[in-house]
């Protein structure tokens, strides 16, 4: 610690640092390991063994039963998530473009009003939103949920793009305008191609948010249209019959896998979305 150049690395403090970091790694991994182990056990095995004991017999029966129970809702979530993510990203890109490049009187005020949506506790809009969906005939439908996610995702998607486009030099746009490029040409030909990283950030952020949503799902959907998070919660918290923890854990894995896979494949963008959505105002 006191050495200036620090060549002798394997000191006591180095060992302590690595030990702490590794204990933390174990702490973060244990729930996932337990879920996986439990999901491959038989109910008897679960009762006789413990959380981290290796399965006596590996069986996929838990996964099969879990898929039977929540598989349909998995596809509901896909049908809700895909359109909502794509449309809200497109709309966010357009909004961000206008707010950054075509400012007009009141556009900053609008941005401020929109920004507050990032922090809106959704409880405060649930009732009017459900009345509106009812009026539109969209209550308990997939398009209804898409619409809700679209509306309440807009604050973040706009924020991502607006913050990126603000950093694009004005000269670029001015030059394009002098060359006669119009509003949409500049957007489609110049800005969109250079926004690929922001598009990735936005897509991944929206995907995670919407896939993981529970509140909107439980309020605005019922029965056949529920997303996977609601189905998982119903499965785990129903008190009828003997608890099958292997099925619960397999269902939880099924609900968690899509976002987990996206995180592992594109963790860089995931993190950037979290920090951009968080730090910048």
């Amino acid at each position: 610690m006191t050495s200036l150049v620090g060549r002798k690395r394997l000191t006591f403090s180095r060992v302590a640092i690595y030990a702490t970091l590794l204990v933390a790694v174990a702490m973060y991994l244990v729930p996932l390991v337990v879920m996986l182990l439990t999901s491959f056990k038989t109910p008897d095995d679960i009762r006789t063994g413990n959380l981290l004991s290796w399965p006596d017999v590996m069986t996929v029966i838990g996964w099969v039963k879990a898929w039977d129970a929540v598989g349909g809702y998995f596809w509901n979530s896909v049908k809700i998530t895909v359109p909502a993510v794509i449309i809200s990203t497109l709309l966010g890109a357009l909004n961000g473009y206008v707010l950054a490049m075509w400012r007009f009187r009141g556009s900053q005020l609008f941005f401020g009003l929109l920004l507050f949506g990032c922090f809106l506790p959704f409880q405060v809009i649930l009732l009017p939103a459900s009345f509106t969906l009812g009026q539109l005939g969209l209550a308990n439908t997939t398009p209804g949920l898409v619409l809700v996610h679209l509306v309440y995702g807009l604050a973040f998607t706009t924020l991502f793009f607006r913050n990126f486009y603000v950093s694009v030099p004005d000269a670029l746009i001015r030059a394009a305008r002098l060359d006669g490029a119009g509003f949409f040409t500049i957007f489609g030909r110049i800005l969109l191609p250079m926004s690929i990283p922001t598009i990735m950030v936005c897509l991944i952020w929206q995907f995670t948010q919407i896939w993981n949503d529970f509140l909107f799902g439980v309020v605005f959907a019922s029965g056949d249209t529920q997303p996977i998070t609601v189905a998982l919660n119903n499965l785990v918290n129903t008190s009828t019959g003997a608890k099958e923890y292997n099925v619960d854990m397999a269902a939880a894995m099924i609900a968690g896998l899509p976002t987990l896979v996206v995180y592992i494949l594109a963790g860089k963008y995931f993190l950037r979305g979290l920090t951009a959505g968080a730090v910048k105002g």
């Binding site: 006191t2 729930p31 996932l32 413990n50 075509w102 507050f116 809009i125 949503d213 998070t229 609900a255």
Partner: protein, 302 residues
């Protein structure tokens, strides 16, 4: 001179070009005005009515707020939020800062370790809640595991203990969000000017004191961002409670978000639910408005 040049350039096409940006924003403006502020106002109105299963617009003044004030379950939920939020924020910050500082020491396999710390953030709170409900299961979870491993007298039944169940929520929430705090601070640490650190080292300051006296204080903005996000997560916490305890045993682990949902959508107390939602909005605003204000002010000074 220049103004005449502008005038000669104006054409119908240019006029359209001038209107296009505003036109593009119109749908979003409607969404924000109606879907955000209009709906908030609507909920605000409902909180002054005696709406039960269906909305009614019979004005009852502050009755619903009075009922909240006298409602034991609301007080339990609010106190739980203070305990849950306070512990969740403090512990997540402590763990996050510690791990970030340790990871900043030129650690081998840093990328892998970071990935592990952050992955819970990608999961739904429902998945997290389901996993921790199982881990904390009295009788089959950690409870049994430690006894199997030889700790005979070990008991761990907080999940069904009305006095301790809220700590179970804290454990799960910290597991989910502390890695995110780590990532925020690590990004901040990477942005610290290394020449200041080197100068302090030459002056003979030890590494821990450099972190405590120089580096961490310079990360105050990161600290405030993290604080605000965590507070926000805590106030909105609904899915975690739904999955882990459903507010139980009894209503011992209720949080305001759960209270609002239960009264509005299952107990036919729409007016009361609306009033609780308005109070939640108030809590969020008390945290967010000063934060946004200072952020925007700083931006202007840049």
């Amino acid at each position: 001179m220049s103004s005449t040049a502008v005038f000669t350039k104006a054409s119908p096409l240019d006029a359209l070009q001038n209107w296009l940006p505003k036109l593009v924003l119109v749908p979003s403006m409607l969404i924000v005005l109606v879907g955000f502020y209009g709906y908030i106002f609507w909920t605000f109105l409902l909180s002054f009515t005696n709406s039960r299963f269906m909305p009614s617009y019979k004005w009852v003044g502050l009755l619903q707020y009075e009922r909240l004030w006298n409602n034991d379950r609301w007080w339990v939920a609010s106190k739980n939020l203070l305990v849950f939020g306070g512990l969740f924020i403090t512990i997540s910050l402590a763990i996050g800062v510690l791990l970030a500082v340790l990871l900043d020491q030129r650690i081998r396999r840093e990328g892998f370790i970071r990935t592990v710390y952050l992955y819970p953030m990608a999961l739904s709170m429902i998945v997290t809640g389901t996993a921790w409900k199982w881990l904390l299961n009295p009788g089959l979870g950690i409870d049994k595991m430690l006894r199997d491993w030889g700790w005979e007298g070990f008991r761990f039944d907080w999940l069904v203990d009305p006095d301790r169940v809220v700590y179970c929520l804290v454990i799960a929430a910290v597991w989910q969000a502390s890695g995110f705090v780590m990532a925020l601070f690590l990004a901040g640490l990477r942005g610290v000017d290394q020449s200041i650190v080197r100068a302090a080292q030459i002056d003979g300051a030890s590494l821990p004191s450099i972190y405590l006296r120089i580096i961490l204080p310079s990360l105050r903005p990161v600290f405030f961002s993290a604080l605000m996000i965590l507070a926000h997560i805590a106030i909105k916490a609904f899915d975690l409670v739904a999955a882990m305890t459903a507010g139980g045993p009894g209503y011992a682990s209720d949080l305001p978000a759960m209270f609002m949902y239960a009264h509005t959508f299952t107990r036919g107390q729409m007016g009361l639910g609306a009033a609780s939602a308005i109070l939640m909005l108030g809590a969020v605003m008390a945290i967010v408005v000063p934060y946004l204000y200072s952020e925007l002010r700083n931006k202007r000074h840049d």
